[in-house]
């Protein structure tokens, strides 16, 4: 179906249009170079914060003894989720404006699914019996992950201020979820607990929280 199909509907507004008023003199707006600089600074700031946080809290004591495969899955799972979330946020179609919200949503959810799947089925340690201790450790880690994600979310939202012309809510949510996924990857080198429930809830739930925060912040990134 093309617009040819609709030609029997006449244009009720005709072709009359007033002459455009003279271009207004608005205050200067940042050009591409300035925006790229801002984004590069944000990336540097995010990486510095994550490294600083990990250094401050300290690496997990069993890191050296951990099998390489287990460590790769623990770190790689959230990183894959982060890359897919970033793709959901920044991918554009042939006209470089945006992509269908369903495509972005599916990409984001696929990433979350990969993370959840790897956490649940490739866990490198058992959870303790569901008890007060388990939930305390889950809560403690989700607070740490939230702290690890908070600064990246803030910096990335500022870096992508007025950047999304189409689908801003979903893309901002995906951008924030990508930051949370990076935080979850960092948690894998901080937290020695490898049980599926602990990792999925303690490290992974922040993706959902960050996505909700991203939805709230959509006005900042919308063009």
């Amino acid at each position: 179906m093309t617009s040819q199909r609709f030609d029997d509907i006449p244009d009720p507004f005709g072709e009359l249009a007033p002459a455009p008023p003279p271009p207004p003199a608005w205050p200067a707006a940042p050009a591409r170079a300035s925006v790229m600089r801002r984004r590069a600074l944000a990336i540097a700031g995010i990486l510095a914060y994550e490294v600083g946080f990990v250094a401050f809290v300290g690496l997990r004591p069993d890191l050296a003894a951990l099998p390489v495969g287990a460590l790769a899955i623990a770190v790689g799972g959230p990183l894959i989720a982060g890359i897919l979330a970033l793709r959901a946020a920044l991918a554009v179609g042939p006209r470089r404006v945006g992509q269908a919200s369903i495509t972005a949503f599916a990409t984001l959810m696929f990433g979350v699914g990969v993370f959840a799947g790897l956490s649940l089925f490739a866990a490198h340690g058992p959870d303790p019996e569901p008890s007060h201790a388990l939930w305390t450790s889950v809560l403690g880690c989700s607070i740490k992950t939230t702290l690890l994600a908070s600064v990246p979310v803030a910096l990335s939202v500022v870096a992508y201020r007025r950047a999304f012309a189409a689908n801003a809510p979903l893309r901002t949510a995906a951008l924030a979820a990508a930051c949370a996924a990076l935080a979850a990857a960092c948690m894998a080198v901080i937290c020695p607990a490898g049980g599926p429930i602990h990792v999925a809830l303690g490290h992974g739930s922040t993706l959902v929280v960050a996505a909700i925060v991203g939805l709230v912040l959509r006005r900042v990134t919308r063009a």
Partner: protein, 213 residues
Amino acid sequence: MNDHARNPSLASGAAESAAVPELDRAMDRYADGDDGAFSSVYALLYPRLRRFLLRLSGDATQADDLTQETLLRVHRARGSFLRGASALSWAFAIARNAYRDQLRSRARKGQHQPLIDPDDEGAGGGAHASPDAGADQWVMARETAALLRDAIAALPVAQREAFLLLRFEGMSVAEAAEVLGATEAAVKLRAFRAYETLRSVLAERAAEPRAER
């Protein structure tokens, strides 16, 4: 007589199509920091945006305000305009954001979407008819145009946007899908539903006994 001479909208459509690469180049220069390119961007975008927003909002004053708001947003977001992007699609997506923001703001204040004043010359209103075409025909065209404007204003926003982009802005389904952030199938469905509604309005109008008109 060629098609363009018979139908002025075809002639202006052809001129606008020719201006698209020029707009893309001007927007690219503007995004790179060339402030002198703004006058070209403004001159090329203003009529297209104003017309789209007039059809979308159904109100000439609102369309003027929204066009200024959209161009201000284009100016503020220029650094985020991707190299090689379609400036028109990008600006239409921003115009849609501005319109939706205004709808939300009006909904919060409890204001309703106004229907267009049939005597508002800024809205066109003639649907390609002029008094020269004969008084009867001219009155009928104006009445049909008013009826269609009301029917378009009554469409759900998502259907209206899709239909206007395809029918009046000359966009392909793929282009409209990118502006609206929807799949091509969704855009086709929305536009077709709008078309069906408008066609039934026109059919009812045509079926009315002449004496009732």
